[in-house]
Symmetry: C2
DNA sequence: CAGCTTACGTCAGCCTTGTTGACATTCCAA
DNA sequence: TTGGAATGTCAACAAGGCTGACGTAAGCTG
């Protein structure tokens, strides 16, 4: 595959020639953009003694309040031991509340406390601010394309998870 | 900022209303897409006993053969100790060659050996295949937008680095 | 009811990859 | 010749992944 330097792709009305060089630029763009994407929350987390793993947990608990540990596990794609370590500190620090399920008492339902919601808002605001600036700079058509390519880059099961969260939110 | 649920943004010809919900969907799309983005190389690296850090080093050495350690440091944004550990194993394993500089003998210039180029090609092929599929699915206009938003998401210094690599390549 | 499965937590240990700090070497340049 | 820059290396540590094993409580099923 690395022998063929270009791939011809028909899409919509126009022919798209994708050279390895163009694809590599896309790859590098993802790499650098992801750094920017995480930079602002990372700074905030650092002086609170948390890491990216805490951010992810807080984000998705906020996104789907009352979610179970198992569900969160599936979304984050890590082991329960990994998640538990993070979750334990968040609960100890009073940012997350874990309630035993009423229907199924084996399950723990996770909620952000007020303090947890505050942290989430702080992280979220920073990340959204960068996102908003990027969206503004690139323009509405670019944003639509951005979303399309990202979704097409996901594995099938991630796409389902993403869609579920999206439809859940609105 | 988290009180205001929408931000009005004028861009080009049309008004773009960016709700927090829309921005959050973009954030989650980045999260899930990045997982997909790294999944294929990660699998290949795993059974060779390497990690993502090795991939990054190999990628950028291939991209700019003869680059110095300091230059690579700037691109990757890690400490020299971190990079050195990775570089050492790659050199020991005969994937990377480190040549003392002729002009400035303090500098080490890094090159991929044949074996290094083979690994790079393998990783690159996998990552490009996913990229190509995503580009094809989303279409050419989407790709342009994708690239624009990603670039707008980078920090200023990353944008310079990215542009330099891009212009270097072509 | 007995027994299997599920959900969750936890302990122990390992790996990668990031960090800081300290120090040696080499070598260019003022 | 001396200071500073580029590089490498040692040590120690932390976050956050992982596996494996085990325990408990609860639900399900024959």
């Amino acid at each position: 595959m690395s022998d063929g330097r270009t791939a011809q792709v028909y899409s919509g009305e126009s022919l798209l020639f994708l050279t390895d060089e163009q694809l590599r630029q896309g790859i590098e763009a993802m790499f650098f953009a992801y750094r920017g994407f995480t930079a602002d929350p990372d700074r905030i987390l650092l002086d609170k003694g948390y890491g990216r793993a805490h951010h992810r947990a807080v984000h998705f608990i906020n996104r789907a309040p009352g979610t179970t540990v198992n569900n969160l596990l599936a979304i984050l794609g890590v082991t329960k031991q990994s998640l538990n370590r993070v979750l334990r500190t968040l609960i100890e620090d009073g940012l997350v509340e874990s309630r035993v399920g009423t229907l199924d008492k084996r399950e723990r339902h996770l909620f952000l406390t007020e303090a947890g919601q505050e942290l989430e808002a702080q992280l979220s605001d920073a990340q959204r601010a960068r996102m908003r600036a990027a969206y503004r700079e690139a323009g509405p058509e670019a944003v639509a394309g951005f979303r399309q390519v990202l979704e097409a880059m996901m594995d099938a099961d991630m796409r389902r998870t993403f869609a579920k969260l999206r439809d859940n939110g609105q």
